[in-house]
């Protein structure tokens, strides 16, 4: 498994990385899931990255980037045709994690890396009900890059896979 690319979140006016995937709950609850191409990048097994915003204490999905199996670009309109710009994430209850500061330990799996602190935002049906910060430690000296990142990934070019498919 490879460390996974984070979702993007606009929180208090700043764009940060979010190590949670609320859209996967939408699909688990029966929402229509487009056929994302989940094989083109080992750091993106879910096949898409979502752009989110917390505005007035509510979680919104405001963008989506991904590739479809047929080769087209996936957008928000592929999932929510009548709401192509902003979708209220009313289905989501749980905690989203926003890593902050420098990296303490890199784990090449999921969202497993540890950062100096984590901002946890608790939501109930898409509405923020609590926030808390957990301090995980401090990076001394030079070590540890700032902000969330993926150390390595393998990208499979679409052209070569298409040739393989045609050969079959």
């Amino acid at each position: 498994m490879t460390a996974q690319i984070a979702e993007s979140l606009i929180y208090e006016g700043k764009e940060v990385s979010m190590c949670s995937t609320p859209l996967s709950d939408y699909f688990a609850f029966g929402g229509k899931r487009p056929n994302f191409d989940t094989w083109y990048c080992t750091a993106l097994w879910r096949g898409y990255t979502g752009k989110w915003e917390i505005l007035d204490g509510r979680l919104y999905l405001i963008g989506l980037h991904g590739q479809l199996e047929g080769g087209g670009e996936a957008t928000l309109a592929d999932i929510f045709p009548d709401y192509p710009d902003r979708v209220f994430a009313h289905w989501y209850s749980g905690t989203i994690r926003v890593p902050q500061g420098r990296q303490i330990e890199y784990v090449h799996m999921g969202f497993g890396s540890t950062y100096e602190s984590d901002l946890f935002i608790d939501l109930e049906r898409g509405v923020v009900v609590a926030t808390k910060i957990r301090h995980n430690g401090t990076v001394e000296g030079e070590g540890g890059p700032e902000g969330y990142g993926v150390g390595a990934m393998t990208i499979f070019p679409r052209a070569s896979r298409t040739e393989e498919d045609e050969a079959k």
């Binding site: 688990a28 029966g30 209220f88 009313h90 289905w91 090449h108």
Partner: protein
């Protein structure tokens, strides 16, 4: 007998095993009704090497290494063959979440649920319907109800084979004979794992190697 004689006898047994292994393997697989080679492996053998380097690897190096391994390591093959025969590996079946009787809450009416589950958003980023963006999924779920079926709430603490414990809630169809049908999930919370006493750190070579692999594996 000298060491060389022992070595030659050892290699001779390896050569015999190398020769009899493929037909025995094919016979056993055929008897079990399994294909003798997985399709991915077969396609590998059927592929035609194009470059000189690929030809060297595929036609010389790979067979040489494979044959050498069998001739020199045949006791391991025998050991694993016996082990597989005596203790066949059971196929892994992942646990799938299902609503059980103990998870049931109260019977509820569709109209009451639909009134309760309407979603409002001041920015209008959700349809004014029961379950908002999930309205189509809800309608599909309710459409599966037959005469006499009732809807019940459910709440289940559940533990998958891996990962953290979970809380799952929603609505489920209960049949007239109290059989449990399909469910519609509205809440899925990943809970914290119960606290475990920390294990003492063991700075062994295998620990360090595992840590290195964990960091570098792709």
């Amino acid at each position: 007998m000298s060491w060389l004689d022992f070595f030659l006898v050892y290699c001779g047994i390896g050569i015999v095993i190398l020769l009899v292994m493929p037909p025995i393997n094919r016979y056993l697989k055929k008897r079990k009704g399994e294909d003798s080679e997985p399709s991915s492996l077969r396609s590998l053998f059927e592929s035609k090497p194009t470059t000189l380097g690929d030809k060297f690897i595929e036609w010389f190096l790979a067979p040489f290494v494979a044959i050498s391994l069998v001739i020199l390591g045949w006791p391991f093959l025998i050991y694993f063959a016996i082990k597989e025969h005596l203790y066949p590996v059971q196929p892994y079946v992942e646990k799938v979440f299902q609503v059980e009787t103990e998870h049931l809450g109260n019977p509820v009416e569709v109209v009451d649920i639909e009134a309760k589950e309407k979603v409002f958003d001041p920015l209008g980023a959700v349809p004014d319907l029961p379950f908002g963006h999930l309205n189509a999924a809800w309608r599909e779920f309710v459409g599966q109800m037959a005469d006499g079926d009732r809807l019940w709430t459910f709440s289940a603490n559940w533990q998958s084979d891996w990962g953290n414990p979970e809380l799952r809630e929603g609505y489920v169809i209960v049949k007239p004979d109290l059989g449990i049908g399909t469910f519609f999930m509205t809440r899925w919370i990943i809970l914290d794992k119960p606290a475990q006493p920390p294990e003492p750190e063991k700075p062994t070579l295998s620990n360090r190697l595992f840590s290195w692999l964990k960091k570098n594996a792709d």
